[in-house]
Structure formats: structure tokens, C-alpha cells
């Protein structure tokens, strides 16, 4: 039988360990924004701003897969014309880094998605608006300078889903991601797991016919987000899906899901250039993004780092997180020896067992 720890101090210690603090810094200090030097550093600041429930929803992320990929950098490659411009569905994006969808962003900042959109625009990054946003999509669109995409969960009531998608496309969303593989909520998001309170989040009758119905009634390109196998990616493309987002939804739904970066190569191979493959999950460094590009991903979505930026500093935080990642990516691209993503190939990495 599990017992609750008897000493409060022990609990305190456990909590203290969860709250990383810079030595010598007063607890709860919110450093000036320009003190932060990489995306990871925004996480503890976000924690200081948020209550436990909100912070738990955006904490962590597994990026250990990246530690098993090392570069094979080439010297003497002129990269003065370094160019990260990425064409996706007719839009020329500043870099291949997009802000991924995340629901209910008012949990993290009073202005939620509006501030996120402002930050994204300031960093010239596209943003994927979540189906469950706290602000109407047209308000978000009014704040955004760059391209917007939309993300939707498949629901039993296809009608309301379709009308939301249509509204989003009308508001200017350039592409639509249907999230697959998340019938229930995040572990721990609704108290302890009990069968009596497992409301299906998605559509139990979800299948390729359903997707086909959406596809036929939506004019914008349709992507599937949450594809983790080559097999399913192939089927998706065969069914007319125009883009794949490799994702394990941040790893928060089932323990033990593969890391997206590790299944990406076989999915890219399976799709064989018939549709752009994007990826998300654990991207925290420019070098992480570069690895995905090297494996053939067209772009990368980052969600949690952007949310940390949002929670900690609002739109300016979002902008800074995204800009830091863009800058790291540019540095790493130059140092690996490629002037643009098209010049990359898998010769630029080595898989490392260590």
C-alpha cells in the first residue's frame, strides 16, 4: 500500500527539486528577458509565474533522442548567403520553425493566443492556432502578421468541426492539421485516471472515411498531426493528405511512445517527397531542429518553449524564444556546412549508440 510521506520537509524537498533555481538568486525572481540565453531557460521562469496545474501542462519534454545523433560537419563551405526560407503550401516562411498548437493559452497569459500571435509575428514565425483556443480565431488572425494554420480534433459531431475549420480558413488559416491519436486527455489533467470519468475527447468512430469527408469539404491543405509510423504516413498520403506532422503530442498521453525524431527518417522515406513532413516533440535547440531538417523534415513545430516564453514574458517572451532558436539554427547550419536546408542530406549526421 502506498503511504503518504510523513515528514513535511521531505515533501518540501521534493517540491524544491522540481523548482530549479539559479544559485544565489532570490526564489521567484523573474529575470529581465534579455538575461535568458536559450529556450530551456524559459521553463523555470514560466514555473515561477504559473500555478502548478498550468505549469504541469507545459513542463518537461523528452529530448534524449537528440543526444544519439551527432553531426558530421563540413569545412570550407561558403555560407554567406545563408537562407532558411521555407516554402510551405505557397507561403515563404522566414525559417522552418513554426509555433505548434496548444489549447487554452489564457492559462499561461491573460492575453493567451493573442499575445502568442503577436510574439510569433514579431519573430516572423507561422503559428498553428489550436481548436480549443481561448480567443476566436478571427481575433487571433487580426493580431498575426505571419501565416496562420489551424489545428482541429476529430469529433463525433463532424458538423461543428467543419464549421470551425471553415471559419478558420475564412479568417485566413492557410492549412489545417487534424490531430490523430489523442482520444483521451493528458495523463493527470483530470485528476487520477478512472474509467468512470474518461470522456472521449475525439471521435470513437474515427477512420479514413471520416478524414476523407473533411478533406473533401475543406479547401485548405490538410495535414495529419500525430503520425508515428511509416505505414500510416503512406496510407495518409494515399488518401490525399497533403502533409504529415510526426508527433507524439509531447509525450503526455501514453508513457513509452517513441520519440518523434527517432521515427522521422523512416516516415520521410515512406512519404518519398509526395507531401511535406513536419515534426514536433522535444525540440529545444537549434541543433535539434537542424537534425530534423537533415533527416528530411520540411519544418519543425515548437510548442512548450513558446508557451514558456508566453507565460514568463508575454508576446516578447514568445518572440525571444523563437528568435533564439532561429539564431541557433542559423549558426548550426553554417557550422555543419550548408547554406540552406536544401543542401542538407543524411551524410551530415551519424547515429550514435552512446
Amino acid at each position: 500500500m502506498a503511504r503518504i510521506g510523513s515528514l513535511p520537509a521531505a515533501t518540501l524537498l521534493i517540491r524544491a527539486q522540481r523548482s530549479p533555481q539559479i544559485i544565489g538568486e532570490p526564489p521567484g525572481r523573474i529575470p529581465p528577458l534579455d538575461e535568458l540565453v536559450n529556450s530551456l531557460e524559459f521553463e523555470p521562469v514560466a514555473q515561477r509565474k504559473l500555478d502548478d496545474a498550468a505549469f504541469n501542462a507545459i513542463s518537461g519534454g523528452n529530448r534524449s533522442g537528440f543526444d544519439h545523433i551527432v553531426f558530421r560537419p563540413r569545412l570550407m563551405v561558403n555560407t554567406q548567403n545563408l537562407d532558411l526560407t521555407t516554402e510551405l503550401f505557397g507561403d515563404a516562411m522566414f525559417t522552418p520553425i513554426l509555433i505548434g498548437p496548444a489549447s487554452h493559452q489564457n492559462r499561461f497569459h491573460p492575453e493567451g493566443e493573442l499575445a502568442m500571435a503577436r510574439g510569433a509575428s514579431a519573430a516572423q514565425a507561422a503559428m498553428v492556432v489550436a481548436d480549443r483556443s481561448d480567443h476566436p480565431v478571427e481575433r487571433i488572425a487580426a493580431e498575426a502578421g505571419g501565416p496562420l494554420w489551424y489545428q482541429a480534433y476529430p469529433e463525433s459531431d463532424g458538423h461543428s468541426l467543419l464549421s470551425r475549420i471553415h471559419k478558420a480558413v475564412e479568417a485566413g488559416c492557410k492549412a489545417v492539421c487534424i490531430t490523430v491519436g489523442t482520444p483521451y486527455g493528458q495523463i493527470g489533467s483530470n485528476g487520477y485516471p478512472r474509467l468512470s470519468t474518461l470522456p472521449p475527447m475525439g471521435n470513437p468512430a474515427f477512420d479514413w472515411n471520416y478524414i476523407d469527408r473533411i478533406r473533401r469539404s475543406v479547401t485548405a491543405p490538410l495535414l495529419l498531426k500525430g503520425v508515428m509510423s511509416a505505414e500510416e504516413a503512406k496510407t495518409a498520403v494515399k488518401n490525399g493528405i497533403q502533409g504529415i506532422v510526426v508527433s507524439n503530442h509531447g509525450g503526455g498521453f501514453v508513457h513509452g511512445l517513441a520519440e518523434p525524431i527517432t521515427v522521422l527518417p523512416e516516415i520521410v522515406d515512406a512519404v518519398g517527397g509526395r507531401a511535406p513532413v513536419l515534426v514536433d516533440g522535444g525540440f529545444r535547440r537549434g541543433s535539434d531542429v537542424l537534425k530534423a531538417l537533415i533527416f528530411g523534415a520540411k519544418a519543425v513545430l515548437i510548442s512548450r518553449p513558446a508557451l514558456w516564453g508566453l507565460a514568463a514574458y508575454g508576446a516578447e517572451g514568445v518572440r525571444t524564444v523563437v528568435e533564439l532558436l532561429q539564431t541557433e539554427l542559423a549558426r548550426d547550419l553554417a557550422m555543419v556546412g550548408a547554406a540552406n536546408p536544401q543542401d542538407l542530406s543524411r551524410d551530415f549526421v551519424k547515429i550514435s549508440r552512446r
Partner: protein, 395 residues
Amino acid sequence: MKQPERHRHGYVDRRESIRLLTGFLAGSPLLLAQQDPFRDHSRIPSIDELIDVFDFEALAYEKLPRSAYNYTAYGAAGEFTLRRNREVFKWIELIPKGVVNVSSIDTTTEILGTRMNFPIMVAPTAGHTALHPSGEAGTHEGCTAAAETPMIVSHAASMPIEEIAASASGPIWVQLYPSPDIETNRKPLEKAQAAGARAVVVTVDQEAAFYERALHDRNLAGRRSRRIRRPRRDLNRYRIPVKRLWYEWKLFDQLRSFINMPMLAKGVLIAEDAKRCIEHGLDGIVVSNHGGRALDYSPSSLEVLPEIVDVVAGRVPVLIDSGFRRGSDILKALAFGASAVCLGRVPRWGLGAFGPPGAQRILEIVQAELVMAMAHSGRPTLASIDRSLVRADLP
């Protein structure tokens, strides 16, 4: 051992609670504040008490301004490669021979016309006056006193190369960070040749490197004025400096015209580049990830050494640096076919801890360790060191 599991089980037993509480108190800043703040400084050990290179690092940390220590320590970005540079030595084991006459050990060698008593050189590193007032001259003194260890003088040295060369009699090479205007490279190279430099090492990695931790130091020092995204002419639209993005292979052909000494390229990490170095007439290669200071998530230099040695196939000497600290580390590189190993941080710790005598001692320690490692593994000469000496489980 149980610790990582603790939160999964959802309970903490009494014993564990007490252990945690003790740990909590031990780590408490309040307790720490009651201790003698000068405790750590109450006694500086003498040079003879330091046994290996790592002891010098600790002392350099104590003695140097934090900025000077940190500048030496930095790796690029998240410092994955910096850590891997040390981890790689665990993946390579030495397989000794015991029945060998090792009554005399011969470590002498000659590389590109420079005679050396050990296959060990000092790598080019910037700004030695930050470590000791004697600066590079002091390092050179220490090198010469330590069996005439050749020193590669950095392009970013804190004193003129004539002054460094004049301070001692040992051999020097010179390192160049090339300029895009080819003529601009002429003066430093001619000056170095006049000062007696016997080879030039052209560093071509670190095209857009960044020491992230330098920003922490800036912050801790309360200087936060330079905004990262302030538009600057030398930054491109991704806010990275363009200064070194122009490198191309033809650079080596162009430099050749004003150099009468052997030329090496530093920063090679793949076999294809080693091949191209030879095609472009380079006389030697330095396998290096700049001590973990160039592209983070580069491999350790030692793990790629075998493929580079294989493709070079003896046509030019292959030198290596990044992460070497012990005699046995050096032995492993020699076993894979390196001609010599360069030490970057090691002499900096020596100089920072004790000035020129520290630079001398730290090199002597590594030299002695190499001799002992050769003797203990039954390889009395450099020629007897081959791949049969190592069992490698490289990733």
C-alpha cells in the same frame, strides 16, 4: 539509487524522509552562510602537491578571476561535445603487453621538420595574459623548460609573436584565423616566419560559434547592455555574425603564395574533408572540434580519428586535440595513428595556477604519464604503438 524512482511510487518512508531532510539541511544556504566564507581559500597547495592535470584545474579556478577561468572552460551552446570529448576515452580501452623490454622508452619524433621530444604540443589558445601577467611568453618559457615542447602561438595571442619567440628557445608554430581579404593575411604570416615560426595552422572551424555561458557571466556581472537582436552590420538577418562564413577551399591555394613553411588545417572532423585538405596541398591536418567550442553535437575528435587516419593513409601527419588530459589519453590517439596530440586547456591551467613553472610542470606531468603508459602497456617506442593496443567500442 532509489531516488529517481521515488516520485513514481508516490510515497516516502520514514528512513528515506530522514535521509532527505538531512540532505535538505546540508544543502541549505542558511547553514552554508554560517560557515567560514574563506574556508576554501585558507590554504593553497604547493606545486609539488598536485598529482595530475585535474588538480591544476581546481587551483586555476581558485586563483584566477572567474572570467578567466570560465573563458578557458566554455564549450559551445549546450556543451554536449565538450562532455563527449571526455566521455570518448571510456569507450576505448588499452590492451597491454607485459613481456616486453621497456627499460628504455623513446618518445622522440619529428613532425614537418620540427623535432620533438614527445608527440605533444601546445594548442593555440587566445589571450594568456588573462591567466598570468607573463602571458604567452610565460607559456613559451614553460614549454621550453618542459623538454622543449613546441607551442602553437594563437592568432589571438595577447602579445606580439616576436616577444613570445624571444622569451625562450623552444620551437614555435603559429595559428591563423584567415581574413577574407587575402593580402591581409600576409603580414601576420610574414611576421611569424621572421620570428621563427616553423609551421602555420589555419583554423577553419568555429564559423559561427557561440559560448552561451559567456552570457551568464555577463548577466552575473550585471552587464546586460548589449541586446542580442540590436541590428548590427556584421550580423545577418538571422542575427549571426557573418565574419567567418566566407571560407572556401581555394583559401589554402591562395595562402600558399606567401608561406614558406608547412601549412596545416585545423578543425577537420570528417574523412571527406581530410581528403580535400590533401588535394589542396595541405601538409598536415589537425582533427579538432576546438575543444568543444565550435559546433555543439559534433563528435569527439578521437572517435572520428580512425576514419581520418585511414583516408589520409600516411600521406601527411594527422594531429589531434580536444579533451586530452592524461598520458593514457594521448596513447590512445597515437594508437589510432595520430602523429601528435595538442593540449589546449591543460597548459592554460598550469599557467593560471603557477605561472611559467606551472605550465612547465603540467606538461612534464603529462609527458611522464605518457612514458609510464607506454611502459605499462609494453610499447617502448612510438613505432610500437598501433591499433592492437586499443579495443574500441566506438558508437
